[in-house]
């Protein structure tokens, strides 16, 4: 059932329908009584809809909650709001996919979701308004993980393993707490927040000269993904569009970023099971795709590629053709290195059945990206809420069924191949014309407007929601990295698994700490 069907009996007035990158009047979003808001959101989720974002913004002494619902088969988004003060009955008690969002709202605004099954601080972010702490902490600024109420399994032979925030490798900080019986993991709890830099607060009041670089720094390995979500939001709010040639080059940037990360992670997965040939080759081959990005924009992570209205750099025809040939040649090497991995029986034995996330769990938690697709959940923003070049050129979506490390590795490998094909063919057939629309100063943006900007980053759905004030400045800029959904997927993957499989499982997801913590 689609969202529209789910909503038909109640009438459309309760949800404002829009689509990816379509700005609406912020006031046009229906504000429902909280019980009705809850009922509609739960109904849509039950009917197969998805909670793409849920966020608060201040409204006098109350807080206006807005839900962004995604109807993937129809390519539609639904917006609805409710006003709350102090507390409201939680969605998470019935829809686990809302758990992170409601913890975030509790932390930022001091609004308590009553009946939330896992009401704990999310990222130890200082509150955005003066209100009593929703978690009942004496000092909301107490450092982590000191006052974190860990779930504990009791029992004579049960032991606890604590890892992080400083890890053994060069990895972002996070704290992992395992409840174990011997090697067996009963439960893994993941505490994040160490990376909190205050991105959303810095974006408020923009756009300004910092905004784009900030978006590119939400998750450094997803500079193009988050940067694209940002420029798309600004373009929608200023009535600008990207030039055709720019659209193609943006797609090239986004897919090169995807391939670079997937190839690097396939190498790291090989390293985690001690299969050194692929670990070495893919570690270096990843650089071919990073360097391809640098050939376009001068930066290996695609920083400074994007600008509202287009891209900053163009390629001459022969440069584009040469780059296409290079990317194809690099992929041939990757293919060889990766087939060594998948054809090795010892590797397959370690990958198969390790860290399994069932399709039911993936759906219930609202997983996105390769983590969802590996569990048989067929969702991809490039197809479902197509934007830019993907409205004209379709990249086939790859899924697997088994939900284990092998499935996540296969999905990453197969979708990289399709991305490479896309990149090369785009570079070989770049549309004529300018790479950016005639330069206008950024802003003013439409006043009192709201836009949802979705991008399929390499980890999955990136959602940026920009709301402007009466002067056309960002009154609220909500950022959601795909990792926001998927971290709980990793925790579930470890359940009843072996603690020694944790590094392998972790790498198969390779989620963003910075993107989660903002």
């Amino acid at each position: 059932m689609t969202m529209s069907e789910a909503l038909r009996p109640t009438g459309k007035a309760e949800v404002l329908e829009t689509w990816n990158g379509e700005a609406v009047q912020a006031r046009a979003v229906p504000v429902l009584p909280v019980e009705r808001f809850r009922a509609v959101v739960l109904e849509v989720l039950r009917a197969g809809g998805r909670l793409s974002a849920l966020f608060g913004r201040p409204l006098g002494d109350r807080v206006l909650l807005t839900a962004v619902l995604a109807d993937d088969p129809e390519g539609k988004l639904g917006l609805l709001s409710t006003e709350v003060a102090g507390a409201y009955p939680s969605l998470s008690s019935e829809a686990p996919a809302a758990q992170g969002f409601e913890r975030e709202i509790a932390e930022q605004w001091g609004i308590r979701p009553e009946g939330h099954p896992w009401l704990k601080p999310l990222r130890f972010e200082p509150p955005l308004r003066a209100a009593p702490d929703a978690f009942g902490r004496k000092d909301p600024r107490a450092t982590i993980p000191g006052e974190y109420p860990f779930f504990r399994v009791e029992g004579e032979e049960v032991h606890e393993v604590a890892v992080g925030p400083v890890h053994a490798g060069i990895i972002e900080p996070g704290h992992f707490r395992f409840q174990c019986h011997g090697e067996k993991v009963f439960h893994l709890e993941i505490v994040l927040g160490y990376q909190h830099r205050g991105v959303e607060a810095l974006l408020r009041g923009g756009p300004d000269r910092r905004s784009l670089a900030l978006a590119e720094s939400i998750a450094g390995d997803t500079s193009v993904g988050h940067g694209l979500a940002y420029v798309k939001a600004v373009e929608s709010l200023s009535g600008r569009s990207d030039a055709a040639r720019a659209m193609a080059l943006r797609g090239v940037g986004l897919e090169l970023e995807r391939v670079a990360n997937h190839v690097g992670d396939l190498g790291a997965l090989a390293g985690d099971v001690g299969f050194l040939p692929t670990a070495s080759y893919c570690g270096a081959l990843r650089a071919d795709f990073l360097n391809a990005l640098a050939e376009i924009c001068g930066n290996r992570f695609g920083r400074s590629l994007l600008v509202p209205g287009g891209v900053k750099f163009d390629l001459r025809a022969e440069e584009a053709r040469a780059l296409a040939a290079r990317v194809r040649a690099s992929w041939q090497k990757v293919k060889g290195a990766v087939s060594l991995l998948f054809e090795s029986p010892s590797v397959r034995a370690r990958f198969e059945g390790t860290g399994t996330v069932s399709r039911e769990t993936a759906l219930e938690l609202g997983l996105v990206g390769p983590s969802a697709r590996a569990s048989g959940v067929d969702r991809d923003i490039r197809r479902d809420h197509a934007f830019g070049i993907y409205r004209f050129v379709h990249v086939p979506v790859t899924t697997a069924e088994s939900g284990d490390v092998l499935a996540r590795a296969l999905v990453r490998s197969l979708e990289s191949e399709r991305s490479v094909e896309f990149v090369a063919s785009q570079l070989e057939n770049l549309p004529e014309g300018a790479v950016r629309t005639p330069e206008l100063p950024v802003g003013p943006l439409a006043p009192g407007a709201l836009v949802v900007s979705l991008v399929e980053g390499w980890r999955g759905e990136i959602a940026h929601v920009a709301v402007t004030d009466q002067r056309g400045r960002f009154e609220r800029y909500k950022v959601k990295d795909p990792s926001f959904h998927d971290w709980l997927g990793l925790a579930m993957a470890l359940r009843d698994g072996q603690i020694s499989d944790f590094p392998l499982c972790n790498k198969s997801f390779n989620l963003s700490y910075a993107g989660h913590d903002l």
Partner: protein, 256 residues
């Protein structure tokens, strides 16, 4: 097994020629900026107005400087300046020993000086480092990881990232140091046996970078670790692996 060996033979040597040979970069790579205030228009501050991180000091004046510690190497200042008072070259040698040495004016680049003889004797041939990501976005972390791969292979210089601060000779800090990471960073530093080095990698760890001024962070390693000296600053957003290697080898007195 035979397939693995065949693939290996076809793959060849992957390690970059640097430092014996040339360091190669894509044509559009933005390395050390060159400042020429004589090209500035009267009272023009277009470069500074375009800069996301206030990295340009005294724009339009003879004393104009670019603070590499804040610079993201985005190139927006150069685009905003058609006369070319700011242009980006491809010189990858950016690391410096002090905050002042990161201020670029027209003069010749100040390259990182080597440690004193005693420290070089201790660390020169084997330097083990503990990396602490303190709210880095994973850009610098990814490039530091790359320094260990077969391409850049820091191990051939005896430089290696180790799992425990107890086994390390110093820490490499990335990120602006969030309040939520401050204690962990301090504890990691304290766990490293003396004498020890502190290396700040990336605009965030040097100055707070794009996050400078946010109350959730501390504007970099030097201010978060107040009173603890930083031995090497490696600019960039993120720094190229060769920029990091260059800085490290200069610090160890292994590059002329």
């Amino acid at each position: 097994m035979i397939d693995i060996l065949k693939f290996r033979l076809g793959y060849g040597r992957q390690t970059v020629a640097f430092p014996e040979g040339p360091a190669r970069f894509p044509g559009r790579f933005r390395g050390r900026p060159v400042v020429d205030a004589s090209r500035c228009g009267d009272g023009c501050a277009a470069c500074a107005d375009a800069c996301p991180t206030e990295a340009i000091l005294d724009p339009g004046k003879a004393a104009m400087k670019i603070d590499l510690g804040r610079c993201l190497f985005c190139g927006d200042c150069a685009t905003a300046c058609p006369p070319g008072a700011v242009v980006f070259g491809n010189d990858h040698r950016l690391a410096a020993r002090s905050r002042e040495e990161l201020l670029v004016s027209k003069d010749e680049p100040v390259l990182a000086a080597a440690l004193d003889e005693k420290a070089r004797k201790l660390f020169g041939r084997s330097l083990k480092l503990r990396q602490v990501s303190a709210a880095g976005c994973n850009g610098c972390e990814a490039e530091l990881n790359a320094t260990g791969n077969i391409q850049f292979d820091a191990g051939r210089f005896g430089i290696q990232f180790v799992a425990s601060p107890r086994h390390a000779d110093g820490i490499v800090v990335t990120g602006p140091v969030s309040e939520n990471m401050r204690v962990a960073l301090l504890k990691t530093y304290e766990a490293v046996p003396a004498p020890k080095l502190v290396i700040a990698v990336g605009a965030c760890a040097i100055s707070g970078g794009i996050f400078r001024g946010s109350p959730a962070q501390h504007d970099g390693a030097a201010s978060a670790l107040a009173g603890i000296p930083v031995d090497l600053y490696v600019p960039g957003c993120p720094p190229h692996p060769i920029t990091f290697l260059d800085g490290m080898l200069r610090l160890l007195g292994r590059l002329g």
